[in-house]
Amino acid sequence: MLWVDKYRPRQLDDLIIHQDIGDSLKKLVSTGDCPHLLFYGPPGAGKKTLIIGLLREIYGAPVEKIKVETKPWKIELPNRNIEIELTTVQSNYHVEMNPSDVGNQDRYIVQEVIKDMCRNRPLELKGQRGYKVLLLNEVDRLSREAQHSLRRTMEKYSATCRLVFSCSNVSKVIDPLRSRCLCVRVPGPTGAEVQQVLQHVADKENLQLPDALRQRVVQMSERNLRRALLSLETCRVTQYPFTDNQPVQLPDWEMYIQEIASFILQEQSPKRLYEVRGKLYELLVNCLPAELIMRTLAVQLSRKVDDELRHKTIELAAFYEHRLQEGQKAIYHLEAFVAKFMSEYKSWSIAVLG
């Protein structure tokens, strides 16, 4: 098992970071009644861990008995029938799903599947709460229609069902949903907190973790705990005992984007653009989200240019990333960004260097 999973706290009491949030959640559950919840925060901050802890707090240990099920849902629309395959993770008490997986048909999932689940009251077993929990991941990726469809469902069936959302980009969740939830902000761990967790894991694994290496892992992690733990484990696999100057490997996609950035800066020509396109495709077919590519590329490029050009790069990246969200195919917008950047860079270097 990966360390990330192995050392994930199972209960709210075991939390190392975010203990204040854990305490609040415990209080929330102890009043016997829990509102709809929306957890938001950057990736690797511990949203999922908090949610698992919360479920455990509500229902006790049996909630950990889960089964994964992929099942096709037949949905009858007035003029046609469609079939949607959806994977759910469920216990007797809760159902977890990722409704944005089904793409632009997510509306039907909300209108049919979720509504159906909300409507059914859970069996009144001994020691069980009167409601069940529906856990929806990545609500920020749900379409507008799907989010609108959730509005009344949340109010109507609030007696039998609690919805728990988790998302990283809270701006993409529409206002009416936010105003119906208790929003919980989960900040990314600070450097010191990441260090603390790394040390904790190292102690449990009986590893000698040199200070310098730990510092470097923390720095590379960008306040993302999952990333920190994964890279620590990678270091462990590549070389142990640890040495002070051991390199910490970046994820390969990030190195690849760094490569693209320096590739762009070396030469600005249509031929180079063509080659860059091939590389971008390589990233896209490996299912890397386009906005992540855009963001990382912009950061890498702006790192290597002078301040005046940085402003321009940021402006371009913001502009084309917005276009990308509006449009259908990511490659056009990524390439447009690269082309525009090349032209800006070229005219700048001509003006400066002559």
Partner: protein, 329 residues
């Protein structure tokens, strides 16, 4: 039973039209209509949390009483499929059925109510298909449309309805409602809490009540203004001040670091922009044209965020423009 406790928003939903807070003209007109049992088609519009759905539901209850309401009132909202086919079949079928026997004790006018909640999410085609249905069955069915943006309702439908605008609730009304709930639930508001609640909710009563209830659940019956701020997800001033400070430094990397930190702390970008703007307007050292430049880009970034653009890049863009505007002077 404790665990069936309802959200306060539902618990304190007005039970009759009279109780609807602040919307005097709406209430007055509807009152008249209820007395005479004669009702036009209605169109309610206004920002979230101002009582549109509550009014419609309260009216249905007052007209028919709890028993008959099931048969006489149909509520369709965005959680139901409402394409053109539904309009053609379901809605038309419901609109066409004649009404049954009235129940004693309620006015029970001889028509049914069809409430179309969140009507601005209906397609144009579906709306068009309703036009004739509304007229043909107006004898036995009244339509109530509820929406946030009246401009998304096609003109032919809007012109068939009596329009009512629901206004955002101002301080006095909201505090009356909140203190009512507080006495009922035994909540004690500490000094400044009411003002804070008014500020974070911005006239949205539902948000105010949800925030209050969340605060009570988390921290107990004594509510401190700071708790409310924490729960509502509002960005504290220190964060925006830090951002503004970073914009005064001439290097881009400072700004970038500040933004990266703000995102990693999990602040919502839209909230951040709002507070950033407030901080900007308060800052006396800035000239008007600098502010204007920054505000333009704020507006653009907000639109982009609504469209679903990346938070980091948009914020970074705003900060970079702000830095240029501040440092160039």
């Amino acid at each position: 039973m404790a665990h069936f406790a309802q959200p306060w928003v539902d618990k304190y939903r007005p039970k009759s039209v009279n109780e609807v807070a602040h919307q005097e003209e709406v209430v007055h007109t509807l009152q008249k209509a209820l007395e005479s049992s004669n009702l036009p088609h209605l169109l309610f519009y206004g920002p979230p949390g101002t009582g549109k759905t509550s009014t419609a539901l309260a009216m249905a209850r007052q007209l028919y009483g709890p028993d008959l309401a099931k048969a006489r009132v149909k509520e369709l909202n965005a959680s139901d499929e409402r394409g053109i086919n539904v309009v053609r079949e379901k809605i038309k079928a419901f609109a066409a059925t004649s009404v049954g026997q009235p129940v004693a004790g309620y006015p029970c006018p001889p028509f049914k109510l069809l409430i179309l909640d969140e009507a601005d999410a209906m397609t144009q085609d579906a709306q068009n298909a309703l036009r004739r249905t509304m007229e043909a069955h107006s004898k036995v069915t009244r339509f109530i449309f509820i929406c946030n943006y009246v401009s998304r309702i096609i003109e032919p439908l809007a012109s068939r309805c009596a329009k009512f605008r629901f206004r955002p609730l101002h301080g006095g009304i909201m505090s009356a409602r909140i203190s009512h709930i507080c006495t009922e639930e035994g909540v004690e508001l500490q000094e400044g809490a009411m003002e804070t609640l008014g500020k974070v909710s911005g006239g949205d009563l539902r948000k105010a009540i949800t925030t209050l209830q969340s605060a009570v659940r988390l921290k107990g019956l004594k509510v401190h203004p700071q708790t409310l701020l924490d729960v509502s997800g509002a960005v504290p001033e220190s964060v925006t001040q830090g951002l503004l400070q970073a914009c005064r430094v001439r290097t881009v990397s400072t700004v970038q670091a500040a933004i990266t930190d703000a995102i990693a702390d999990g602040w919502g970008a839209q909230q951040l922009l709002l507070e950033f703007q407030a901080g900007l307007l308060k800052d006396a050292t800035l000239k008007d044209d600098q502010r204007a430049k920054i505000c333009t880009v704020l507006a653009e970034a907000d639109k982009c965020l609504v469209d679903g653009a990346d938070e980091f890049l948009q914020l970074l863009h705003v900060a970079s423009v702000a830095q240029q505007a501040i440092c160039s002077a």
